[in-house]
Symmetry: D2
Amino acid sequence: MQLGMIGLGRMGANIVRRLMRDGHDCVVYDVSADSIAALEGEGATGTPTLEEFVAKLEKPRVAWVMIPAGITGATVEKLSALLDEGDIIIDGGNSNYRDDVRRAAKLREKGIHYVDIGTSGGVFGLERGYCLMVGGDDSAIATIEPILKTIAPGAGEIERTPGRTGELAPEEQGYLHCGPSGAGHFVKMVHNGIEYGIMAAFAEGLNILDNADAGIRSAEHSAEVAPLEEPEYYQFNVDTPKVAELWRRGSVVSSWLLDLTAAALQANPTLDGLAGRVSDSGEGRWTVKAAIDIGVPVPVLAASLFERFASRGEDHFANQVLSAMRQQFGGHNELPAGDSLEAGSAKSDQVQAKKG
Amino acid sequence: MQLGMIGLGRMGANIVRRLMRDGHDCVVYDVSADSIAALEGEGATGTPTLEEFVAKLEKPRVAWVMIPAGITGATVEKLSALLDEGDIIIDGGNSNYRDDVRRAAKLREKGIHYVDIGTSGGVFGLERGYCLMVGGDDSAIATIEPILKTIAPGAGEIERTPGRTGELAPEEQGYLHCGPSGAGHFVKMVHNGIEYGIMAAFAEGLNILDNADAGIRSAEHSAEVAPLEEPEYYQFNVDTPKVAELWRRGSVVSSWLLDLTAAALQANPTLDGLAGRVSDSGEGRWTVKAAIDIGVPVPVLAASLFERFASRGEDHFANQVLSAMRQQFGGHNELPAGDSLEAGSAKSDQVQAKKG
Amino acid sequence: MQLGMIGLGRMGANIVRRLMRDGHDCVVYDVSADSIAALEGEGATGTPTLEEFVAKLEKPRVAWVMIPAGITGATVEKLSALLDEGDIIIDGGNSNYRDDVRRAAKLREKGIHYVDIGTSGGVFGLERGYCLMVGGDDSAIATIEPILKTIAPGAGEIERTPGRTGELAPEEQGYLHCGPSGAGHFVKMVHNGIEYGIMAAFAEGLNILDNADAGIRSAEHSAEVAPLEEPEYYQFNVDTPKVAELWRRGSVVSSWLLDLTAAALQANPTLDGLAGRVSDSGEGRWTVKAAIDIGVPVPVLAASLFERFASRGEDHFANQVLSAMRQQFGGHNELPAGDSLEAGSAKSDQVQAKKG
Amino acid sequence: MQLGMIGLGRMGANIVRRLMRDGHDCVVYDVSADSIAALEGEGATGTPTLEEFVAKLEKPRVAWVMIPAGITGATVEKLSALLDEGDIIIDGGNSNYRDDVRRAAKLREKGIHYVDIGTSGGVFGLERGYCLMVGGDDSAIATIEPILKTIAPGAGEIERTPGRTGELAPEEQGYLHCGPSGAGHFVKMVHNGIEYGIMAAFAEGLNILDNADAGIRSAEHSAEVAPLEEPEYYQFNVDTPKVAELWRRGSVVSSWLLDLTAAALQANPTLDGLAGRVSDSGEGRWTVKAAIDIGVPVPVLAASLFERFASRGEDHFANQVLSAMRQQFGGHNELPAGDSLEAGSAKSDQVQAKKG
């Protein structure tokens, strides 16, 4: 079938490529003429303006918007002014599901269908396919099902879940109609919240392994904050890249995120050059806020979010307050600020030595 | 080669089976005569006493102890009294790595090698193989490498990590010599700590999805603790079993634990009959304690551990203290204890209705 | 000066009493005629309708609204329709500061001043005074300063902070203009967030003390989840009520919340009859959500909030998911649900015995 | 009565001073001759060696050891070799209660009493008195009760807890026999664990207030990680020193730690010069480890501990792992490391401006 794509960044362009490979027709639009030209070269129909983009689409038009969340609203508004009753707008970006609920209600008045699709898969999606979490009304989703099937990974070689029989359900092919407008991005939001938690579990665990030699190092840094009590139990020079590789096979924690971690550590065993200032992109925040709204405890998901904030120094004033309190009641002065930097580089050197 | 196995529970018996399938000879011992008889029927050499067990092993003897951690110490002691210099004791159970460090030092005096192996794989290990994290001295581990190779999953169909070339390293086949005695169980301990965190991330996220209909339910329960502020955003009847299935394909959170979650929800969509009293088995606790010893922050791993404690009611007195404080300063009385049970069952009924 | 009070619940009535004691005139209104009559008996001017309430106030009118947050919006709207330019509406309840920002902007168009006051002090406020966190424009707050001074605790016998000299600042008397509309409730919100954290710190710590006899009890409950590893270190029958009392004197944790805890434990040493289902009232949730909005890590405040959710069973489905996963990968069955109840009552009996 | 004090640091010297003021005789010993001379000048009996120290004490001798936990064990051993049956050793330092349990058992064989005293009060103890948590056998504690009474704060002007009548109990005077050897330091340990939690609650809350102007600042830093969604709600320039002062009066969070926080912020409103590298001293770690041993959930206490670890950069490798994973699956690059430093100093400048 035919699909129009607005936004030809990495995600939008690769979805178009995946669709064209499977025989679908794609009309494309982007603010960058180069991006349009590139996909024209691969078989897409490029259009230089939103008006021409709409003109090239057959009714009922299906227009997928794949742009940063911050500008999605304005684009959907402009686009909807050009569309007719029965047309379908898909928001495949990282919108807040609350925006979907509002936008869908507004577009419904004009008879335009709004479909929100949470899309997971990252840079590997072109080859692996994208996991699609879809929200909207039944008729619109029935219309676009052929393109969902193509974009999704399909059943692949993944073992079938025991108890499932007969024809493959959509969720077994990697796409699912999760509910009314907003449900797609809601499920995607929670997905990313879980992702934060899993990532943090691996990161914290690997940090323990990376410091399992504390009993060897502690002798050298006698002025440490709290002396290591039983150094004899922390004498392990664990090769974390090898452990990450090992766990990929047969262990309970095997997962795609572990595959990626193993790849990252294989390429850069000491993760040199990474400052450890971890970004967060919205969904993790929205997940915790939604949990709070409905009274669901999410200590792990919240902790993983706060670790990211702290990694960027957002805990600074809180830590100053703690040091100030300690000075007040105990006369404790802070250790000189340079101390850990030295300890850190000494440690890095050791890591280099042991892993080089 | 030949291996002696002490302890023929699910794990020990299946390891023996996996070894015999691959042509190894196994001498077996257990306190249960039936367990011995069962494996004799499959080709193992059964022995009724520890003495005969030792007598049937060729030097250097290799004896794998696979019994509950609580009795491993006593058994290793008895066994070691019967062994000779150069023999090898393997502890494949869930021992605390600190016990390994102590035991290995003691056995070293007698010239006996002690190898600790953290074994992951659960009930699926017989077919999938077991991920093996190994600690001990080089010579002992060289001796037992043939059986490690057999017990481990091997390379399987898992995609090779980019940048790895040439012959498969041991970690790519599912076993790894992690360091001196204790290193195997140390790495396994951290593995389980990570496992707790990942499990909690999924559990919390699915709990949000399960309550995404709070805006529908809240109207019915007008006396709820804190009224839902924006019920219009929590109107989703999410089918969690389908979502779990969906995420197995192409999503960032795809993992073996998700596969199992999808299977559990497929078999029992509302998880009826589970009380939600979650056990913990030692490794999660040791992981957090080790992190504290070496000063590594593990908020996510700790939170996942504490959730399990709380699930068993171990937060009870703390919660009573909180209610008592609220009564004191605000004159707030607790809601009647039955309230949530009703709310709970009302909700369960709805879940039944929507998923039935 | 004159103040009008709408809402004569515990907080509103006591504020009126405190004002009248200090010579202020109070006009009062409530939906309950009895509440009005009670305060008339103490010297207030009762009014049966909002219209008469407004009629009895001298210009510029000052009307304090002290009613549940859920109905404050509607009441402010009705009230404002009866007021004139230059009049002042005070919201002294537990409103979300976001509502203040919106309401103030709307009222500003009509020339009505809106002042939000976060009020802390609970049932003790009548005698101790209320800590007042005030938001609004300078002129309105200058107008109402006399009543703020009366309602606030004043300097009292609290030691002056070193470095402060000269006349007492407002904050040293217990009230503070924190910023524009919303600032008062914002500061009060954070105050309550902190309160949750402090309460949880005490509750968790006392729970440890209450279980410091685990080594004595563990012998009796042999089938416990994870056996206590070193029972010799948990042989203490700590008398928690006495410890709470002790810490009130000279310790770093001395605080008003500790005073209340000591009082609660003195009155009911085992906290019998409390179900431990802890309510939360909005501010704790808003605090964490605000922190997330601005990227400030608040792991402690969030953990204290989530403990309350979990105390009410809102972690139930998550815990079921965890148990289901454990069944899948390890074949672990849950312990029978009754187990901990027995353990709990056995323990309660002991507590009774040791403290009776 | 007579007391011998070993260790004349700030704590030991001030306890001696407080005892002498109340008419007790003190024999003192320290490795520093200057420290001895200083207290001799105030009336104490100085002794240049441990032998003379012991010789100067009347039987049954009472020797208080007040030195760093790391060297307490060796000193107690040397001291006990010089003592006789019936003598009493007091450890008033910050020992791990587990060491008490072991030491007391060993000394009991020689008929020497061992009393562990957890001492809270910090630099203010000389004037305010020290809160004393005492462990040991009844007879030894009866012997030393006169000095406990003197060192403790006494009843002071603190309001009596409702329901308490008759003579003041020891806990109302600031000292308490908490149980057998180890119980004193156990209760002190938990006390410090709670202290960490309370401190963190204040620090996190004040950090929110300090960032309540995020909506003003965000306009200036357009390239921020996640754009602030509703800047209109974060327009408050909160004066945190004034708020800390305010809360001391009548609010639910009033406490000694708040008094100290107000003093710290009064002296240094922007906490300039503090690096925010927060030390931890052992008790916080031991508290969480004890809670884990006995299965008590302590998410708040643990989170407060981990914040301190992270404040010293111990989360670094974990954060690098997170960034590495994000690069792998999303092609996300880290923001340049300098970004937050600039943001930080820009912000500091603003803070300076608004508070100066």
